[in-house]
Every structure is written in structure tokens, then in C-alpha cells.
Homo-oligomer: 200 residues x 2
């Protein structure tokens, strides 16, 4: 059996990583969704261990101190983090774990776990990105400008990533990610026992 | 425009790299066949610059001295080599150059040009490999044993390679190589100008 890997799908706000990952999971049921730990209260219908691992802030802080996160962040007074143990256990079993995350989070993961496979999802152009953020209709003009400034800054970190996928059409982007997954599974480093298998 | 790359398809004698590469070129006309330099005389129908670059031994020795080869070897009193210039020029133009070569040659290329993408083509088992060599009907029992011994030795170099493709069915192996090519084209390092393109 070969080893799995962590696939980090990341990119600036508005690049469409949510939509792309949703479609990716729909088409590839064998992929494992990286379940985050959070200190926020569960919403209606959310299941512990499926949507999130819901824990108290004290436990979260302990996990931070014990370096049990691949990355973590604070959003609106709540904490969110990616638990290392969950990811590594799945990988050992040969699974591909997908983590959809913003650029700041991906850069943290890169430091904690450089063996992961990093995909940078890009809009076809920065104008297109701006239009997508405007279309959401949830942001003020000031917010939009902040997001655009951040996007320009974030793109400068692209060299930290392995692959670049331009999200022009969602299905094309999903297919490209599927191709990357298939190719990554063929990497020699994930088949350390291959010699024994072939020789036997 | 993105940069191309050199794809080295290699593996032990009998792994089927000739058949797989023939099919790969048939299905993907945009791939560039890496044309070797040789000191042997052209055979009927062979065209200089297409099948080989035919040169004299003195010129070959000069090229060796000037480190103009990614690899070279002597076979039956003739010399064969992969000219660096041919490969690098195509790569600069964004082309994917495919080099089908034995393991010894691939290891030379790895030293001279580690940026290449290395695929190790494996038979499904060593018994299958032996049967394939026997089926050819061109080798004595002694030759077959030597080839098998070499194959066992060569497999130990698999860690020098990037990808492993098991050649159980030819078309499956070809499709896997096509997937690797598609994924490799998405590598960030081949799109150094992507930021300018997106931002503009």
C-alpha cells in the first residue's frame, strides 16, 4: 500500500476555492475532507467530527502549546485550526486529505509540514477577481479594496506552492486538480515498499 | 508562455519502454522526440536530424570534452549521446522533450540535468519481466540471466526517479505518463511569468 498525502488548495479570497473544492469532493468520494478544530459553538445540523471538532478555548490553547496544529487562526473571536494528528493518521492509511484554506494558512502549513502538496488557485485575471468579489454583494467598497490589496500581496507567495491552477471554468479547474492528484499518487516517494512488491 | 521540460522514460530492459514511448508519441504529436547523436552509419531510410544526428567519432569526442551531452554511452563500437543543446532549446520554447533511455543513461542525465522529470517504468513483477525477455526469443539463457541480474540492480536506483509507472497494460501506462505530463505543466516553477500575466 502506498502513502497518501495532504493536498492544500489555497488562493486569494474570491479565487473560487470553495466552489472548486465542493465539486472536487462531489466527484471524488474517496477524498478526505480535513476536519478543523474550532472553539465556536456548533450551528444547527453541524456534527462534531464531521463538520468540525468542537472544543473549548482552554483545550485549543493546550493544542497550540503542544504544536498539535498544522496551522491555526483567530476569526471573529473564535479559533480555528487544522489538527496534525487527524491528517497524518489518514495519510498513513494511504488516504488523500484535502485542506481548503487561505494563503496565510497555507504558508503556515508549508512551514509545519512541507511534504504537503500545495496548489495555488488563481482567477484568470485580477479584474475578474474584483468582479467576483463585487458579485457576492456582501462587501462594502472599502472591504473590496482591502481584499484586492491582500490578493496582490498573496500572489507574491506563489513560489511557496507546487502547482498553479487557473480557475477560469470550475470544471476545468477541478479536472486539473484531479490530474495533479493522480500524478502525485505515482510519486516514487509514496511507494517506498514498491521494490519488495515487484521483486516478490 | 511557460517553460517546457525534459521527460526521461526509463526502466530495466524488458520493461516495455520502447512500446510505451511509441504509443505515447503516436497519441501526443506535440511531444518532441529527443534526437540522439551517434557515430554509427545511417541505415536505409534514416534521416539526419530526425532519427539521429550522424557525426564522426572525432566530433563526438570533442562534444564529450566540451560537456555537450546530457549522457553518452558506447554500444558495439559506436557512440551514442543526448545533446544538451537540442533539449534545452526545445524546453526554452515551451516544448516537452521525451527521452527513452536505459537506467544507466537516466542516472547520467540526473547528474547533468536534475531538473528533468524522471519516470521509472516497471514490469508488474520480475517474473513477468523474465517472461517478456524470453518471449523476444533473441537472447540465450545466459543473456537472460545477465539481464535479470541487471534489472534487480537497476531497481535499486528507483529513488533517483520522480514517478513510478507500472507497465501492466501498455495503454494504462501511456495514460499515466500523459497524466504526469499534464500535472508537470501546472508546476509553479514552469510559470515564472504568471504573476505578470494575472496582474496585467
Amino acid at each position: 500500500m502506498s502513502k497518501g498525502f495532504l493536498l492544500v488548495v489555497s488562493g486569494p479570497s474570491g479565487c473560487g476555492k470553495g466552489t472548486v473544492c465542493k465539486e472536487l469532493f462531489k466527484r471524488n468520494e474517496e477524498l478526505i475532507f480535513s476536519v478543523s478544530v474550532t472553539t465556536r459553538k456548533p450551528r444547527n445540523g453541524e456534527i462534531n467530527g464531521v463538520n468540525y471538532f468542537f472544543i473549548h478555548e482552554e483545550k485549543f490553547n493546550n493544542m497550540v502549546e503542544n504544536h498539535e496544529f498544522l496551522e491555526y487562526a483567530q476569526v471573529h473571536n473564535n479559533y480555528y485550526g487544522t489538527p496534525k494528528k487527524f491528517v497524518l493518521e489518514k495519510i498513513e492509511k494511504g488516504e488523500v486529505v484535502v485542506l481548503e484554506i487561505d494563503v496565510q494558512g497555507a504558508l503556515q502549513v508549508k512551514k509545519a509540514y512541507p511534504e504537503a502538496v500545495f496548489i495555488f488557485l488563481l482567477p484568470p485575471s485580477m479584474n475578474e477577481l474584483k468582479e467576483r468579489i463585487i458579485k457576492r454583494g456582501t462587501e462594502t467598497e472599502k472591504d473590496i479594496n482591502i481584499r484586492m490589496k491582500n490578493a496582490f500581496k498573496e500572489i507574491e507567495f506563489i513560489d511557496e506552492y507546487d502547482y498553479i491552477v487557473i480557475n477560469d471554468k470550475v470544471m476545468d479547474a477541478v479536472e486539473k486538480i484531479e490530474t495533479i492528484i493522480t500524478a502525485e499518487k505515482l510519486k516514487v516517494k509514496r511507494h517506498k515498499n514498491i521494490m519488495e512488491k515487484i521483486i516478490s
